[in-house]
Symmetry: C2
Subunit: 246 residues, 2 copies
């Protein structure tokens, strides 16, 4: 799916958080909210902007919420089980599980923070579809052909700390294939497929911050070749048969 | 090591590649080269810029290079063995190994691309020290108090594609602790230590590109609280005892 890359790197990127968004609820028009918040910042979305949106507000807008009895410690656990197709590791309250989308993450991505007490946000049913809808909505609202990333915060083995990665994307190369390119000494590069949408999600996190209500960021300045049809599930989720750690 | 975070997110970041750097060789003054290249772009480093430098040029400048017989397919393999303290998985030519620094990555980070035939670049002996030296050199050259990240390109389990991560850093919080903060609904956040330097490395990769000779990037606009003493090895390398996948 990834295409060989022989195109120049972008000269300069700007990354900024979209502030002033209202709390998102079920069936809210997130595209409209984003367009208005950007306008209130004195800006407007443009072609080839990348709009990064956290999973949390996508899940809220889509109603991907599950009731959890806050007095029952097993309540959260039961939701995690229901959202998982496989448990890879477990330690105390933490389970590293595989979701039906093929993501491997802590507690199947089920999240109690920034959610009303008694509820948990679960991952959107099809985050690539969520991204496509948001992209369509932003085009309808603003006329701009943007790329969209739905991001979530995942841990990883071997390294401490979390980074934001893409769980869905639209209008973007999820994976950029540098194979077939030559290095600066003219030799062919091997095994250099870069996870573009993950790096975009991480860059966006830098202007978001978990505690602040900045669930949307814009990355401006990307080159033409970033933008094509693509998605996370087809390009980035590693099939178990390819995987050395499952 | 990470400190609780109750400070605002940056409003806007700029990320740009430092172009026009000459090929780096052993004992070259990389700080001087970067300062000159930035000046040739009509800019100058400023306090609180983050300078991201790829491992490759750091290894070249430090002479972290090993001879490999290009006619012997076991030559590369022998270098990988020598650079590894443990092999986690092996498939064909690919070995996922742990380096003496505690990094888990493909082929111990030994790299044949963008290196003269007959040589392999290995990871710097102490990438945090490399970062500190570069930071000191940039201060001496420019007067600017910058943060420095030494980046490398790593794969990861479960997801296809590579992203750039930090193998060394100086003058930056490698890990930002959001625990102790409250979410936007006033509840305490758990387990949200963000790997700041990894997200910076990934953001920088967006303007680098492997095939192009842009081994240095600058991230401008970071807030004061990003900048403190810190390093990757102490903060980001997960001790085996904490790790569920080793």
């Amino acid at each position: 799916m990834a295409e060989p890359h022989d195109r120049p790197t972008p000269a300069r990127l700007e990354v900024w958080g979209v502030t002033g968004l209202p709390e998102v609820g079920r069936a809210d028009d997130v595209a409209g909210m984003i367009a208005e918040a950007v306008a209130a910042q004195g800006d407007a979305l443009a072609d080839r902007d990348v709009v990064v949106v956290t999973q949390k507000i996508v899940s809220k807008a889509e109603g991907a919420m599950v009731e959890v009895d806050p007095t029952d410690p097993r309540g959260h656990h039961a939701v995690v089980e229901a959202e998982s197709v496989r448990v890879l590791r477990r330690r105390g309250d933490l389970a590293i599980t595989e979701t039906r989308h093929g993501f491997v993450c802590a507690n199947a991505g089920v999240d109690l923070s920034n959610v009303e007490a008694g509820w948990a946000a679960v991952l959107p049913d099809d985050p690539d579809r969520s991204a496509r809808r948001l992209r369509d909505g932003l085009r309808a609202r603003t006329g701009a052909e943007v790329g969209v990333v739905v991001s979530d915060t995942f841990g990883r083995p071997w390294r401490r700390g979390l980074t934001d990665v893409a769980i869905g994307s639209a209008g973007l190369a999820a994976l950029v294939d540098l194979r077939g390119s030559t290095d600066s000494l003219g030799r062919e590069l091997h095994a250099t497929e870069v996870a573009l949408v993950d790096e975009l999600a991480g860059a966006a996190e830098l202007v978001m911050g978990k505690a602040d209500r900045v669930p949307v960021a814009v990355v401006r300045g990307g080159p033409d070749w970033w933008f094509r049809r693509g998605g996370v599930r087809k390009e980035l989720v590693r099939p178990p048969g390819e995987d050395l750690f499952r």
